[in-house]
Symmetry: C2
Subunit: 418 residues, 2 copies
């Protein structure tokens, strides 16, 4: 089981986790206080890995800017880490700072000495990036510069560090051919090459991820860095085996028009008796996955590192759904009366298109997906119901329109782009 | 002759220029004080267009940073503009400021009211972008943010403005299939789509242009902007009919290892008796063009605007050469004894590869290329010889190595990356 592990610090030990042999690694989770970063850190820590997290609390600040909040209360990072220590006995080492501060980033990397870095630390909302010019510029600068700083830090400090980078299936857009995993063999005028899969992203946020992918691929080529780009689908779910251990360990549950992803948002709308807001015809088909599969995929990527110089791309999703399908599913499963409301699509996107994306690499590494079950949907609605007194109804509807995004919109009291 | 012109401000008039009918337009040249921006502004002005230029003198500042200079003396912008007025009777309106200052950019755009914007205003040196982390970050932020600000300004002020953006053939890298103009038809698993041509750029600078292309394409799609992305080859030459009218009108002639493009650099090396520095085997093949063809191509793009919502890509070059071919050409034509020196390649690139790029759109609009002649090479060498007392020999050799680019290199006295 030790074959193919290339990091010199990795040793084979037996853990008591499901009686599996695991290989404890030192893993630094960037954005480790966020919706997915935090449960990922817990999951990896529970599995015996030594975990550090970096966060600047940018995500918590967006809440203040938007007048939004996590439906489920979340604790401050220090409290989360302390409770995890009490509950599990495991230590998570926090580093507070921002990736755009290269000096901080280098010090943290030197101090922690990771074998793998999992990079969630980006502005990740498409609507947020489309609010106005400033938010578009912020999103691209924040994401691109943070990742550039990280590439340089890895190169200078320890080029054997495996960069596991969160990308998005949205990088591909919706081409009229099958979506492959990062690369595609093209035969053209009698010659053949395997080239990066053409990208057609649909927001300044998605574009920032495309920029990152190109930068990372280049760094792997010229410096021999190793990286896995996880082109992740839309994640749903809010509970994991670890977050369920104690209320202090909960992760975010976003339902607002800016940061709420589609199924989570529908669940909250159903729980509070607000119509499910389907954008346009709802025929937009998207690749999706359960939050627990995100954690499993990230761990699989970490424990099966890319080779030096390798830039590999995994399409990280388990199923595809149209937005309309999801709304109907929530309506059917919900114990409450649910209305579905088609509203004008604030995005510029096709509402009826071919969509067939390939995902073979993660299953081949052993991913056993949690497919979307009625139970999961019900769980989401029930969790939302439990906290329905915290809902800010003002924040639910989409407030950012792709067409009318202006140069500079001042945001006050959550009146984003309105 | 007025068919297909969509700008409401354009009128048909006869000019006295070669007795052709031309359509005077208001064109704003961003980076209009630079190597190509300045002669482009002159060329368009000579052809009867109303020209404004924006520049922040970033390019002149890089000279101070690098301890380098233009071999041919260049005048300050105010003097250039005044001499042009004296020589030609035409006014060029200058705006001094930077595209990353969105307020300045918006004011300039409103004030000048262009029908087309020609965007040269980016950091354009691959080696400069590879000096260290700070220069990589600077290059990407400067180029990407400047272009984002421009897209928003056009959208808000006048979406009918045609954005003519300078890209580079280097965006494509050197794939093993023919390079098409921006898009490629791909048939895959029985389905077909026309998708953006896959990009494999080879420096953080080239990457910044790829990022720009993706951002511009998106802006055309969602906002209906119109843009022509000129994927330009490596430009050689330093004299144009307009710059020849008066020494004050000269444009830059760069020969240093950071900003000097290959043929210009070889000409200077030949003129001063310095060996021609060929990187590695010299089999790197690159698309190239004469500076006079750059001016013609930009004008063709301006006077044949893209349609609203259209993002079109022109491959802007006329011939392809290997670096070794060019060195041998210079050695053969030069009146002086010339040595060719193969030095270790500071870049990470293939020195022996397939290269066949397509260019049909500019010829179809009427481009009549100046193919590389011995006369042109001789002209370059003679111009260099005339100013050889200005050569800083320290600046000639490549000082930036793709492999050993560090996080932070302090630059003093031109000792870049050494």
């Amino acid at each position: 089981m030790c074959e193919g592990r290339t990091s010199p610090r990795t040793t084979c030990v037996a853990s008591d986790n499901d009686k599996e042999i695991i290989f404890p690694m030192r893993i630094l989770v960037l954005g480790g206080d966020g919706y997915l970063g935090w449960p990922t850190a817990l999951h990896l820590s529970a599995h015996g890995h030594d975990i550090g997290i970096i966060d600047s609390f940018a995500r918590r600040n967006y809440d203040y800017e938007m007048g939004a909040n996590s439906l489920v209360p979340i604790r401050q990072m220090q409290r989360r880490v302390a409770t995890w220590k009490e509950v599990s006995g495991h230590t998570i080492q926090p580093f507070i700072g921002d990736l755009t501060d290269s000096e901080f980033l280098e010090l943290s990397l030197r101090d922690f000495g990771p074998e793998a870095v999992v990079h969630f630390a980006e502005q990740r909302s498409a609507p947020y990036s489309m609010i106005d010019r400033k938010h578009a510029v912020y999103t691209q600068v924040n994401n691109v510069v943070g990742t550039l700083n990280l590439l340089y830090a890895i190169k200078d400090i320890d080029p054997s560090i495996h960069l596991v980078k969160l990308g998005t299936m949205g990088e591909y857009g919706a081409p009229n051919i099958d979506i492959e995993e990062g690369f595609i063999e093209i035969t053209h005028k009698g010659r053949t090459d395997v080239l990066p899969y053409p990208k057609q992203p649909n927001s300044f946020y998605h574009l920032s991820k495309v920029h990152d992918s190109h930068n990372i691929q280049f760094a792997c080529r010229i410096w021999g860095l190793r990286s896995t780009d996880l082109n992740q689908g839309i994640v749903y779910g809010q509970r994991t085996p670890e977050t369920d251990l104690h209320p202090d360990l909960s992760t975010r549950f976003d339902y607002d028009g800016v940061f709420g992803t589609v199924l989570n948002r529908f669940a909250v709308q159903a729980a509070v008796g607000y119509p499910l807001t389907v954008y346009g015809k709802g025929g937009q088909t998207r690749a999706m996955l359960d939050i627990r599969d995100t954690l499993a995929c990230v761990e699989l990527a970490c424990t099966n590192a890319a080779e030096p110089g390798e830039f590999r791309v995994f399409n990280q999703f388990t199923e595809s759904f149209s937005v309309k399908d999801l709304a109907e599913r929530v309506a059917r499963v919900s114990p409450f009366e649910v209305e579905i409301d088609s509203i004008p699509n604030p995005r510029v996107e096709s509402e009826d298109h071919y969509y067939n994306a390939v995902t073979t690499k993660l299953p081949s590494l052993g991913l056993k997906p949690h497919l979307l079950s009625d139970d999961t949907v019900l769980h989401l609605v029930e969790t939302a119901r439990e906290h329905k007194d915290r809902v800010n109804f003002e924040a639910i509807r989409p407030t950012v329109n792709w067409r009318s995004t202006h140069s500079d919109v001042s945001i006050a009291g959550g009146a984003v782009g309105s």
